[in-house]
Amino acid sequence: MSRGSAARFVLPFLGLAAVLALWTLVSHTVAADLPSPYKTWTESKRYIFEPFFKDGEMNQGIGRLAFYSLVRVAKGYLLALAIGTPIGFLLGLSRGFHSAFDPIIQFLRPISPLAWLPLGLVVFQKSEPAAVFTIALCAMWPTVINTAVGVSGISQDYLNVGRVLKLSKVKMLTKIIVPASLPYVFTGYRLSLGLAWLVIVAAEMLTGTPGVGGFLWQEYNSLVYSHIILSVITIGAIGFVLDRLMGLLEARFKSA
C-alpha cells in the first residue's frame, strides 16, 4: 500500500476519533445533558442489534423505524417526480408556460416544509397523506428546475436533426428531447431525493407518525436524549447511502 492510499484509509478514522473526543469533552463539561458517546452507545445498542423489535407504536428497533420513514419518503418522492418531471418539461419546451408559471415556482420554491405541513393537515385531515404531500411539495423543485434547464438547453444541432427529418412531436420527444435532457433530469432526481429525506424529519415530528423523525421527537419529549443522537446518526447514514446510490445511477446515465 502506498503512502497516499494509507493516508486516505487512515485519515477518515482519525477525523472520526477527533469528533468523538470533542463530543465526549463537550458532554462532560459545558453540556451536562448531552449524553456522551459511551452512554449513547449503551442506551442505543438494543435498537441497533435488534433492529426490527417492536415493543409498542413508538418503541421499535431502528431498522423498523427507518423502514417506515423510507416508505413514506418513497411515496412522497415518487409523487414529486410524477408531478415535477412533466412540469419541468413544459417549462423547458414552452416559452408561454415558462412566462406563466416560472414566477410562481420561484415564489413557492423557498417555502419551508414546516409551513406546508399544517396546510396539508387541513386539506387531507390525516397525518399520513399530509406528510407525503409535504415531502412531495418540497422535494419536487430540483426536478422541476433541472429538467427545465436540461430541456431548454438542448443543442440546436440535435433539434435540427429532428427538424430535417420532420419527426412527429412524439418522436421528437422520445428520440431527441428526452434522451438529450436525461443527464440533467437525473441530477434533479438526485437532489430531489436528498430534499425528500431532509423533509421527513420535520414531517414526522409535526404529525407524530412512527418513523425515525417521529421517534426522535418522542424521545426528546420522554427525555431519552441518547436516542435523539441515535436517530440523528441513522438519518445521516441513510441520507448518505441514498445519495451515493443515486450518484451511481446518475453516472450510469451520464455515460450512456
Binding site: 444541432d157 440535435y158 435540427n160 430535417v164 420532420k166
Partner: protein, 264 residues
C-alpha cells in the same frame, strides 16, 4: 428552370452589436446530379448559405426553388452534413442511420428498413462499428456516419458544410476519396461548401468562389475540366487542375486585396 434555383438570396443578422449583412444577393443554379462546390474564406457566409438552402433559416430577400417547389423550411429532401457531425450521442451508429431511414420510409416493412440501414452503413464501410456510440468513434468515422445518415434520407440535394475540416489531413484525404467513389456510384446532387480549394477541385464539376463578407456574393463560375472517374494521384499535375486552381485563388486574392484597399 433548373433543378435547384437560388435567386437573389440575401440574409442579415441582427444582434446587440448591430446588424451584419452576411449574404448580398446569391444566385446559384444546379441541375440534377451536379456536384457543385462553393469556396471562400472562413466567415464569409458559407454556412449561412447552406442553412438557407437547407431551410433552417429563411432569406430576407430572394427565393430558393428545388425541383419546382419553393423551399420554406427544413425537410428530408435536403440532407445536411456539417463539420460538427451532429450525430445523436445516445444512439449507436445503426440507430443514428435508422432514424433517417425510418423517417423517410414510413410505409416500408421492418425488414426493408433494416436492409436499407445496413446498406447505407456498408456504403461508408462502417459495418464492423455499427453497434458503437459516436463517442467511441474517431472523427473520421463519425463523419462517415453523418454521410451515411445524409444519404439514407435519399435526398434530392445533399448539402455539405466543410464536412472534412475538423479532420486530420490523412483522414480528410481518405474521406474525400470515399465521397468521390460514393458519388460515382450514386450521382447525387451535391453542394459542397469548403475553404479547401484542392478539395473543391478534386470533387466538384463546377466551383463558385464566394467573396469575403459582409454582403458576400458568388464570383464567376469555374468549370473543372477534369474527367471522371478521378484519382487523387497525378491529378494536381494536369493543366486542367492548375487552371482551375489558379482561377479560384486569383479571384479570392483579388477580393481580399480589394477589401484591404477599401479599409486603408
Amino acid at each position: 428552370m433548373a433543378f435547384l434555383e437560388v435567386r437573389g438570396v440575401e440574409k442579415s443578422f441582427t444582434t446587440q452589436a448591430g446588424t451584419t449583412h452576411v449574404l448580398g444577393g446569391i444566385d446559384l443554379a444546379l441541375e440534377e446530379a451536379d456536384f457543385v462546390a462553393v469556396v471562400g474564406y472562413s466567415g464569409s457566409g458559407k454556412t449561412t448559405l447552406v442553412s438557407l438552402i437547407g431551410g433552417l433559416l429563411s432569406p430576407d430577400a430572394g427565393g430558393i426553388v428545388l425541383d419546382g417547389a419553393p423551399v420554406s423550411g427544413p425537410g428530408p429532401d435536403r440532407s445536411m452534413v456539417f463539420q460538427q457531425y451532429s450525430l445523436l450521442p445516445w444512439l449507436d451508429v445503426y440507430d443514428n442511420v435508422a432514424l433517417a431511414v425510418d423517417a423517410v420510409n414510413p410505409g416500408a416493412s421492418v425488414a426493408e428498413r433494416r436492409r436499407l440501414t445496413e446498406e447505407f452503413i456498408a456504403l461508408v464501410n462502417l459495418t464492423p462499428a455499427r453497434w458503437k456510440r459516436p463517442r467511441e468513434l474517431s472523427g473520421g468515422m463519425r463523419q462517415r456516419v453523418a454521410v451515411a445518415r445524409g444519404l439514407a434520407m435519399r435526398p434530392k440535394l445533399l448539402l455539405m458544410d466543410e464536412p472534412f475540416s475538423a479532420l486530420d489531413a490523412l483522414t480528410r484525404a481518405s474521406l474525400q476519396d470515399e465521397l468521390l467513389r460514393i458519388w460515382g456510384e450514386r450521382r447525387s446532387t451535391v453542394i459542397l461548401v469548403t475553404n479547401d480549394v484542392d478539395e473543391a477541385i478534386l470533387l466538384a464539376d463546377r466551383i463558385y468562389p464566394m467573396t469575403p463578407g459582409p454582403g458576400a456574393v458568388l464570383g464567376p463560375v469555374i468549370e473543372v475540366g477534369l474527367e471522371r472517374p478521378r484519382h487523387r494521384r497525378h491529378l494536381s499535375l494536369t493543366p486542367a487542375y492548375q487552371k482551375a486552381r489558379l482561377g479560384i485563388v486569383e479571384f479570392l486574392r483579388a477580393c481580399r486585396r480589394g477589401e484591404t484597399e477599401r479599409v486603408s
